[in-house]
Amino acid sequence: MPELVLTVARFGFLVLLWIFVFTVVGVIRRDLFAGSRASRLVAAPRGIGGAAGTRPAKVKRGRAAHQLLVTAGALAGTRITLGEAMITIGRAEDSTLVITDDYASARHARLVPRGGQWFVEDLGSTNGTYLDRAKVTGPTPVPLGVPIRIGRTSVELRP
């Protein structure tokens, strides 16, 4: 084999190797935009951050929730005026809405506002939180007038 061919093979392989590396990096770069659902490595409240940017445009003015109404359970009829603060629901004394219900956990669920939309999130309760009939497994947007069921208690967002 001529010396030239061997030299070309020697450096050509290294060049190809690095081209491969950069091609892979290129694929990863394109990928960053396709699946930018990155959250923290530690399981944190998910979804809220990713959804925040897209929500405001979809919530029509005048239809935002201003009150939380308890529609069933021991506290039926109670109203809470909503602000910018998070609402926590549970048996714990420091909850925003303290419910005395055997089927509720101490820290059962919370309602978090993000970009004009309220999200309900289950806090690892024993018996679960239901939005209408669907079990809440992550931050879920709460539409107006749809009951959130916690044990025997139901709450709804009202305009």
Partner: protein, 482 residues
């Protein structure tokens, strides 16, 4: 209808990268033949084509079983695996009679055996992808896996020497000509258990703490599990005479602990415990001897390999000389003398390749490892459940730590230990275990990147919101009203 707006699966990118990787392996094989035989035989591509067809079969399986899996993992690992097989074949050629090199059979020698092991490893990886449809189902067997893992760790230490010792390290099970390295599988089993355990316990581990010097330290009683793992890793260190494996188990646990709790204090405690233990073992080796002697000697060799270049320091000094001969660009594939390095098939494969592909080539290989690890961590970031996060983060970190331990050992950054280089070294246990690790990462990354199912057609009208939002956003019928 909504086909065009689907989240891209990126499978075609994977195929292109895979073909590129196989082209690289073929180019490497051709260069080896040009240097060693002085001509390129017409069928230089056959081993590459065989191994490439295995990978393409895996790629097709991934298309069906994990369509949203990360597109980079399979090609990057395939490149390392392919180059490993090609390099082992190159070593076989060097050992063979020069007259018979041109028609050296494909399945002969260490390279041929590695080719067969690759097939077995890919079958194992494929089986994992087929049978484990959801990575969370692994957590159901967490305690079984823990017991299996501990048995696999302890077994070589407990077995009599003739069934477990190879080159002074009691890491093996030798049965009827076969040698199995159970530690390779133990790390996967233990990691699954760590992830499961820490998902359940992380609140108590991260919340109850005392603040010392601005860092939150956990309560004494919460240190229990980490101390148990520390003891196990020390047992491995002393009785199996293997610093690398011990570092691997302990690092794995401390890392998952850190990921689960976000507490820097765990890293500090872990590092202190490890270096304290290693320092203690070293000073015990100097004064007491006994089971600590081999560790003491290894550190001595590490500190001064050229003090006894034909005796204890032989491996390391040959490795360093090989790397030095390679220099920046290497001697070219097939043009070096890697057979001068002892154990070049296993522990020192990185030094052997380094002589021929040089610092530039080795750096590229390290970057490929880095990219694999990055994709694993990325899968951990993006997946939705805590168990998956811990498992993916831990698996990726373990792979990285193993590469660090062996490459650091070969290049004299840390004391040398008998770790395998993932995907490169000859050896079935390591190859199968690491391919299982990759299959698990593929499974988790598929779960992480898969768009949530059950989207109603109407909500598809806002594809960007639908793609970015979590599951529940699109399941709600009331979304449509807006």
């Amino acid at each position: 209808m909504a086909r065009g707006r689907r989240q891209p699966t990126r499978r075609n990118a994977e195929l292109v990268l895979l073909l590129f990787a196989m082209g690289l392996v073929a180019a490497y094989a051709a260069a080896v033949e040009a240097n060693m035989l002085d001509r390129v035989t017409p069928d230089f591509w056959v081993p590459t084509a065989i191994i490439g067809s295995f990978f393409i079969a895996l790629h097709i399986l991934v298309r069906f079983r994990a369509p949203y899996a990360d597109p980079v993992l399979v090609p990057a690992v395939a490149l390392l695996n392919g180059l490993g097989v090609a390099f082992l074949r190159r070593l076989d050629l060097a050992d063979a009679d020069p007259a018979q090199r041109a028609d050296f059979p494909v399945f002969a020698g260490v390279g041929g055996r590695q080719l067969a092991w690759t097939l077995a490893a890919l079958v194992a990886a494929a089986a994992l992808l087929v049978f484990v449809k959801d990575h969370r189902s692994v957590s159901r067997y967490a305690y079984t896996l823990m017991v299996t893992g501990i048995v696999l760790v302890i077994l070589p230490a407990a077995l009599p020497r003739q069934y477990s010792e190879v080159n002074g390290a009691k890491l093996w099970i030798l049965v009827g000509g076969f040698s199995i390295q159970p530690g390779e599988f133990a790390k996967l089993a233990l990691l699954s258990f760590f992830a499961y355990y820490l998902v359940r316990k992380r609140e108590v581990l991260s919340l109850a703490s005392r603040r010392v010097l601005g860092i939150d330290f956990p309560r004494g009683r919460d240190l229990g599990p980490v101390l148990v793992v520390w003891l196990i890793s020390l047992v491995v260190l002393v009785f199996e005479k293997d610093l690398g494996t011990s570092l691997l188990y302990f690092g794995m646990f401390v890392m998952t602990l850190y990921v689960a709790t976000e507490r820097v204090s765990w890293l500090i405690i872990g590092l202190l415990l490890f270096f304290g233990g290693a320092g203690l073992a070293y000073s015990l080796g100097a004064s007491v001897g006994g089971p600590f002697t081999s560790f003491y000697e290894r550190v001595g060799t590490w500190l001064d390999p050229f003090g006894d270049p034909y005796g204890k320091g032989y491996q390391l000094s040959q490795s360093l000389l090989g790397l030095g001969t390679g220099g920046m660009f290497g001697t070219g594939p097939g043009a070096g003398q890697p057979t001068q390095v002892p154990e070049v098939h296993n522990d020192f494969i990185f030094a052997g390749m380094g002589e021929e592909i040089g610092l530039f080539g080795l750096t590229a290989l390290l970057v490929v490892y880095l990219l694999i690890i990055e994709r694993g961590l990325r899968a951990g970031l993006a997946v939705r459940d805590s168990f998956g996060k811990l498992l993916a983060g831990g698996l990726a970190f373990t792979l990285g730590l193993q590469v660090f331990v062996i490459v650091g050992g070969v290049s004299k950054l840390i004391p040398l230990t008998g770790q395998t280089t993932p995907f490169l070294s000859a050896g079935g246990s390591s190859l199968i275990a690491n391919w299982l690790l990759i299959a698990m990462l593929l499974r988790i990354s598929d779960a992480a990147r898969r768009p949530a199912t059950g989207a109603s057609p109407l909500t598809r009208t806002t594809p960007t919101a639908a793609a970015a939002a979590p599951l529940q956003l699109r399941e709600l019928p009331t979304e449509v009203v807006q």
